[in-house]
């Protein structure tokens, strides 16, 4: 294991300079160089984002939308400018289709509350077996509130979405919404969103994609996917915490009742009744995460400056390399081997508990996640109680993956 088998070449190396943009990557952990392989949980932040947020607070900040003065107008412009940027980033038709939320979770809850209230008992929502709790629990809660049906469509043993089974799930025409991940945070599987959208639409259902993972690694084009709802979360996109995005077709947003009430989402208010602002403001109650939204803008600009071609090539090369390297570790089993996949690799290693793997890796400066990854039902489906998971970002290097594999080999040595 000490010899490196197939070092990815140019593709993976081309992003080497981006490491300089991430100050945290030069930190030490337990006296070792940090090897951060938990980007799927949350990515690190480039100085472009950090500096943008700090600069905003230092020189150009005030509450937005209602201020009739310079600072407020400039901050409003910066905030609303990010809406344009996000619309472009996701391939949306109009800026009005972009609603800012705290994170993906809130975006999905917004849809579950608002669009969900338009579903009628007898109608069903379909989720898949590989959903993150964020795309399962809100629908369970909707079911328990309103009496709609919740259907779970299966994955195959290698962790792909079972498209035949999905067709059967949709066949009775009672499905109102299909809510499925665009990339699994456990298996790394990338689903065929366009095919899912076509099937859903043919069955008269709307479709929501949880793009929390995918949007970090591939260009999203909601128009090309023919999606109805799409959610992403800023902190995985190298952006700040506290900011996420719901994209939805304008006519859906217009038909949907508001979710949270308060300032900024109203048109007029009297004690008796209130009328709602136009979309997207109808869905943004109260003072939003202004600084974080502006920080998200910096993150998207940063990603665009690298480009998804380079990002995709880098991560594909890394993933192939990692699968090969990890495949050499004795007793290591990768959970999730669908052909379409990204740089999120879950694994078990012989009898070593994933928590012990994570702690022992951490003692060597290597950060991986271990547990159920907020996907408990998927764990049961795959026949494991927990996995360890390494996930990659634009700053991940082949050397880091080699270090991971070598350290895993040593850990295994401890336990035999």
């Amino acid at each position: 294991m000490d010899q490196i088998l197939t070092r990815p070449g140019r593709a993976a190396d081309s992003l080497r300079h981006v490491r300089d943009d991430f100050p945290i990557l030069s930190e030490k952990v337990h006296g070792k160089d940090l090897v951060f392989l938990d980007s799927a949980a949350s990515a690190q932040k480039p100085r472009q984002v950090i500096d943008c947020m700090a600069e905003t607070m230092r020189t150009q900040y005030a509450n937005i939308h209602r201020g009739l003065y310079w600072m407020s107008e400039r901050t409003t412009e910066a905030y609303e400018g990010v809406r344009d940027q996000v619309a472009k980033f996701l391939g949306a038709n109009a800026r009005e289709e972009i609603v800012f939320t705290r994170n993906s979770t809130e975006a999905i809850n917004l849809v579950a509350h608002s669009y969900g209230s338009m579903l009628r008992p007898g109608q069903a929502v379909v989720v898949s077996e590989m959903e993150h709790h964020a795309n399962l629990v809100p629908w369970q809660m909707l079911r328990d509130r309103t009496g709609i049906e919740l259907r779970v469509t299966p994955v195959t043993d290698d962790g792909a979405l079972d498209m035949d089974a999905l067709a059967r799930t949709l066949s009775d025409g009672r499905v109102g919404l299909v809510a499925i991940t665009h990339m699994s945070n456990v298996l790394g599987t990338i689903t065929d969103a366009r095919a899912i959208a076509d099937m859903a639409h043919a069955a008269g259902a709307k479709v929501l994609f949880d793009g929390s993972q995918l949007a970090v690694h591939r260009r999203v084009d909601v128009s090309a996917l023919d999606a109805d709802f799409y959610v992403v979360t800023g902190h995985k996109l190298y952006g700040p915490t506290g900011i996420g995005v719901l994209w939805a077709r304008r006519e859906l947003l217009e038909a949907m009742p508001p979710f949270l009430g308060g300032g900024d989402m109203i048109s007029t208010v009297s004690f008796e009744r209130s009328t709602w602002a136009h979309v997207p403001h109808k869905f943004e109650a109260g003072t939003p995460a202004i600084i974080e939204t502006i920080g998200l803008g910096a993150a998207l600009a940063y990603i665009e400056s690298i480009g998804f071609d380079a990002i995709g090539a880098h991560e594909d090369a890394l993933t192939a390399y990692a699968l090969e390297m990890l495949g050499q570790v004795q007793g290591l089993k990768v959970i999730g081997t669908a052909p379409q996949r990204g740089g999120v690799i879950s694994f078990t290693m012989a009898d070593v508990h994933p928590h012990d793997i994570a702690t022992l890796l951490d003692r060597n400066g290597i950060a991986v996640r271990a547990g159920h990854h907020c996907a408990e039902p998927l764990m049961r489906r795959m026949g494991v109680s927990a996995t360890a998971r390494a996930s990659f970002g634009i700053y991940t290097t082949p050397e880091e993956i080699a270090t991971l594999a070598a350290t895993l080999e040593q850990i295994r040595g401890f336990f035999v």
Binding site: L360, G371, H372, Q410, F415
Partner: protein
């Protein structure tokens, strides 16, 4: 990576080949504890002598090495001890994992002191102890 000071051989050995594992179907005392987050589960079975001291303790542990080793070392250490001693030991272990410095007299249990650098794993080591305390308290309340 050299042999790791947290996963010292005693931890690995006890996790792999526990000396006090198993059931005690006829035991009067049974307890259990679990951590839904990581799936660790500990079942305890105990005989108590006339003075209320633990005569025999067996554990059935499913979980990580830290939890399994902790259960086994605990079973060994508390045999012959009463409730007061158990709770003193537990307090000492807490002090060790919180500070990284093992109080005198903690003996082999001091192997867990490095957990103070791995705070998310402290509950793995403490799970058998909280199950034990709960079992002994239940018995007192009866």
């Amino acid at each position: 990576m050299a042999q790791d000071d947290l996963y010292r051989s005693v931890v690995l050995e006890r996790a792999k080949s526990p000396r006090h594992a198993g059931d005690l179907p006829d035991a009067p005392l049974h307890g259990q504890g679990g951590n839904p987050l990581c799936g660790d589960r500990v079942k305890l079975h105990a005989m108590v002598d006339t003075q209320g001291r633990i005569a025999t303790l067996r554990h059935e542990t499913r979980g990580c090495a830290i939890c399994a080793a902790s259960a086994d070392l605990m079973a060994e250490r508390v045999t012959g001890q009463g409730r007061a001693q158990v709770s003193r030991l537990q307090a000492e272990l807490v002090a060790a994992v919180e500070t990284g410095i093992a109080p005198e007299g903690l003996g082999e249990l001091s192997v867990f002191a490095p957990l103070h650098q791995h705070r998310s794993r402290i509950r793995c080591a403490m799970l058998p102890w909280s199950a034990l305390t709960e079992m002994l308290n239940d018995e007192k309340d009866r």
